[in-house]
């Protein structure tokens, strides 16, 4: 975490479905932003370390997400694969302030803001 994070606003919490996720395209990659049943927000790179599955499309349960391609389960808090599987999904920093969601982007992700 050597880079200084740039905190960007990505809209209200209600823009993300409960027990669901939406994606944010950055200059270098795509981020999956999750909202859990207890209304907490987490973010991972939208790329399963196993076969690059889009984690944003998985079923969200507790503070976990299940990859839609091969059912690997990842902790939203740490990015670590659960159970017998090995691997770690890249974790991103998030904040929830006054109902607004913010994500901490690295300089390379900020290089060329691409808001689709």
């Amino acid at each position: 975490m050597a880079d200084i994070l740039n905190w960007v606003d990505i809209g209200p919490l209600d823009g993300i479905p409960v027990q669901g996720a939406r994606t944010l395209q950055t200059a270098s990659d795509r981020i999956a932003v999750f909202r859990t049943l207890d209304n907490q927000v987490f973010a991972l790179l939208d790329r399963c370390p196993h076969k690059q599955g889009p984690l944003s499309q998985g079923i969200v349960h507790g503070h976990f997400v299940t990859c839609p391609l091969h059912n690997m389960v990842f902790s939203l808090e740490t990015g670590l694969a659960q159970g017998a599987d090995d691997g770690c999904a890249a974790k991103m920093e998030t904040r929830l302030e006054n109902g607004m969601v913010r994500v901490g982007l690295t300089p390379s992700q900020m290089a060329k803001p691409d808001a689709q």
Binding site: V8, P17, V33
Partner: protein
């Protein structure tokens, strides 16, 4: 009705049994096991049905069991044992001088021996209004049917009587969606079995479940003019109700005996071998009075049956010596046990154990160092142990200090259930209902090489009645067979729960659980919101149980069903529009070609199910792709769903020179009827126009093959890893029949298969006969299955693509978040 022809053997004496209930038929069973060929047997039953397990009426009412589940002896049992069954035709007269009986239909049947098993009648309190329509008792399957019919419209019900039966009725009606009030005369419910503390705990539990309990309440009048509208109490309270269940007790039915001059006091007077004052007439069950006592529980009935059978078979035995009884309330999730006398006296010693946190209350009443009674609430696992100590009049002085903690702590031994059961003496009673002791179960297991609970049930009857000792029997199997025993263990759906699929389904219906949070709360899920394994299963079970009522939970569906397309390895999607019966036309093909061009769709492929797959569509393009396909008249093909996939056809009689029926038309009709239906797993169909079977209907879930005279219906096939050919379900002649059988089969599959179980493993598990019994042999059941399927289709046949392409549903799925400046 239910007439079973029996082949009378002239030389045998005639035994006529009046009563087709639990006591009468158990006596016949016991007699057959002793002297199978001694009598020509005729059975008269007042109810128009076979012998069933009356103590299971409560689960029948609550929906936890079906009538089939509670049948003890089906028709072929009577046939096999050469018994003439005359059900629905009660005996109305006994002529003891000439030795014959006359039934309501006028049939005159001579006897050499007569067995009375006329049971008991529910007591009706003769308050004004007790004969109004809408006032029922709780005694037989007809009563349950009346209650179920009333519960269909919801509304309010009053149960008069807070005893065992009344409370079971109340819980059952509440599970069926009625608002229930229990009116009870005494100061707490079940006062004959429970003391005040346990009664209070039970009342609190009932209240928590939404049942109103009024104690000290005396009924003044049942109100209404042409049907019941409510109940008025003597203290002026009025409770509105469209159904009133009278459950205040039972009275031995000795009418017939009395009219014929057999000695009757409170019940028909019998001696220890169950003979009445007339030596050629025996009596068993709730109708008798033995040593001054009448019984209303099943265990004494079965003991009587043995003594009676001994006597009828000509075997000398000590006879029936009376019973000490115990009671359990058969309400799911409420554990109550009571035995013996719990009214404390001056020389009695009470041991009381309470754990408010767990809602546990135990009270053991000692008299001169022996257990005189026990009341257990919340944890009844030691009920059988206390009961045994009580019946044996064991001196428990040395156990007194740890008695309340149960058998596990008694004498410092037996800390697990297998050791505990191993430590029991051979004469310890395991099955209270059937009076089966440990010794007979163990010898059956070793002599007959029994390896499962079902085996033990079949050979010994242990746990075949109320089933509450099933756990003990399993422990006994484990103790006897050691490592060789594999319990038919419950396989939980996933680590979030201890329940298996079947249990969860049953409880969703029985407890009317209609949302996912309700299921997780009531069934004590261990995680806050389940996981990717249980949530899709629950979503399906709720959808199947409450069509039109349950709101589909998208977040609990796998991505394919959430966005109505198939995710591919690179995160793009594939799109398969429906082609009814594999038929298409130039307009549809042009639209598909245009869509492929417009959205740069890289791969277009013909599928095995006779349609076209567009592969590599970007997620954000999906709504626009669907909109274009919709405007050419195409809808979702559900190629992504646990639902109807395709109906493959051959061209049949429409074109083919060998075709015998219009298979194309039939395929289209079936697909139009069944598309959109959610199922436990994917479901494929095919229709072939002749036995050459070009549509490969014999590896489909439901395959139709035309013949000269009609249609062969095949079920349970699939390709895949475990290739399985279909089995022939039946042959039908008309197109309407094909449609009805198809819908009924799908509905049976939808209602009984486990989530992610295809028809092939499902049929291998339940057996083809199970399916045939329910939808081929039973025309009425087939019709109701079909009706339920059609009903659920009303809310299922909405094109999910149109909802998203133009209806704005789930718009967030197809748009990225955007970063603000």
């Amino acid at each position: 009705m239910n007439f079973v022809p029996a082949h009378e053997t002239a030389s045998r004496p005639r035994l006529v049994v009046i009563g087709n209930g639990m006591a009468g038929i158990r006596t016949v069973e016991e007699l057959l096991s002793r002297a199978p060929d001694k009598y020509n047997i005729t059975v008269f039953g007042a109810e128009p049905r076979v012998n069933y397990n009356r103590i299971m009426l409560s689960p029948l009412l609550s929906g936890e069991k079906t009538f089939d589940d509670i049948v003890i002896n089906p028709l072929d049992w009577y046939q096999h044992n050469n018994i003439l069954l005359l059900s629905g035709d009660p005996v109305i007269h006994i002529d003891r001088a000439e030795k014959f009986v006359i039934s309501r239909s006028g049939t005159k049947t001579p006897y050499d021996h007569l067995l009375l098993a006329t049971g008991s009648d529910p007591i009706i309190i003769p308050v004004p209004g007790h004969k109004l329509p809408g006032v029922v008792t709780f005694r037989d399957v007809d009563d349950v049917d009346t209650m179920l019919a009333a519960a269909e419209n919801g509304g309010e019900a009053v149960v008069i009587g807070g005893g065992l039966l009344g409370l079971e009725a109340a819980v059952g009606l509440q599970a069926r969606g009625m608002a229930v009030t229990v009116i009870h005369l005494a100061s707490h419910v079940m006062e004959r079995q429970l003391d005040g503390s346990a009664g209070h705990l039970l009342q609190e539990e009932l209240r928590r479940r939404g049942i109103t309990v009024m104690t000290g309440a005396d009924t003044a009048e049942i109100c209404g003019t042409d049907r019941v509208t409510g109940v008025s109490l003597k203290d002026g309270h009025h409770i509105p109700a469209s159904l009133v269940v009278m459950a205040v007790g039972i009275r031995p039915n000795g009418r017939l005996a009395n009219e014929s001059g057999v000695a009757v006091e409170r019940g028909i007077v019998v001696n220890d071998v169950m003979a009445t004052s007339d030596p050629s007439i025996h009596a068993v069950g709730e109708c008798v009075q033995h040593r001054g006592l009448c019984y209303g529980l099943v265990a004494p009935l079965f003991e009587m049956a043995k003594s009676c059978a001994d006597d009828l078979a000509g075997i000398n035995s000590t006879g029936y010596g009376g019973s000490v009884t115990s009671t359990k309330l058969k309400v799911t999730g409420v554990d109550v046990f009571s035995a013996g006398d719990f009214s404390s006296g001056p020389d009695c010693d009470d041991i009381v154990f309470r754990d408010a946190g767990r809602g546990v209350y135990k009270r053991i009443i000692l008299f001169e160092g022996r257990i005189r009674g026990a009341v257990l609430y919340g944890d009844t696992s030691d009920g059988a142990w206390y009961f045994q100590l009580m019946k044996d009049e064991t001196d428990v002085t040395d156990l007194r200090n740890s008695l309340a903690f149960g058998q596990a702590f008694a004498g410092g031994s037996a800390t697990n259930p297998i050791d505990a059961v191993a430590a029991l003496p051979d004469n310890a009673e395991i099955c209270g209902c059937n009076g089966i002791c440990k010794g007979s179960i163990v010898s059956a297991i070793t002599e007959k090489n029994l390896t499962s609970l079902d085996d033990v049930k079949a050979h010994t009857k242990a746990s075949a009645s109320c089933g509450s000792c099933a756990g003990l029997v399993e422990s006994l199997l484990a103790a006897t067979l050691g490592g060789g025993y594999q319990a038919a263990s419950v396989k939980p759906i996933c680590p979030c729960t201890d329940h298996d699929h079947d249990n969860v389904r049953r409880l969703i219906r029985a407890r009317a659980l209609k949302t996912m949070p309700a299921v997780m709360q009531e069934l004590e899920w261990k995680t806050p919101d389940g996981c990717h394994i249980c949530r899709p299963a629950l979503n399906y079970y709720l959808l199947a149980a409450w069509p039109g009522d349950y709101v589909d939970h998208g977040a609990s569906r796998f991505i394919n069903e959430r966005v109505h397309a198939n995710i591919q390895k690179d995160g793009t999607y594939s799109v398969v529009p429906r082609m009814w019966g594999g038929l298409t036309n130039p307009r549809e093909l042009r639209a598909i070609a245009d869509v492929a061009d417009k959205f740069n769709i890289p791969t277009v492929k013909v599928t095995g199910g006779q349609r076209i797959d567009l592969l590599g569509v970007k997620k954000q393009d999906l709504p626009a792709v669907w909109a274009d396909l919709n405007s050419a008249g195409m809808v979702s093909g559900h190629a992504y769903g646990k639902s109807l996939r395709t109906v493959k056809t051959c061209v049949g009689q429409e074109w083919c020179r060998f075709g015998t029926q219009m298979s194309l038309g039939m395929g289209v009709a079936l697909e139009k009827m069944t598309w959109g239906s959610w199922m436990p797993h994917k479901f494929k169909m095919a229709v072939s126009g002749c036995p050459r079977n070009c549509a490969e209907a014999t590896i489909k879930d439901f395959g139709v093959i035309a013949t000269d005279g009609g249609w062969d219906l095949h079920v349970g096939g699939n390709g895949g890893i475990h290739l399985r050919a279909t089995e022939l379900l039946c042959k039908v002649t008309t197109e309407a029949e094909v449609r009805e059988y198809c819908g009924a089969f799908i509905q049976l599959y939808r209602e009984t298969a486990r989530y992610l179980e295809r028809t092939a493993p499902w049929i291998e598990r339940v057996g083809l006969k199970y399916v045939q019994d329910r939808m081929v042999e039973d025309a009425q059941n087939r019709a109701t299955l079909f009706a339920r399927f059609i009903e659920s289709q009303k809310t299922a046949q909405i094109d999910p693509w149109a909802e998203r392409a133009t209806g704005g549903v789930d718009a967030h799925e197809f748009k990225h978040l955007t970063a603000a400046e």
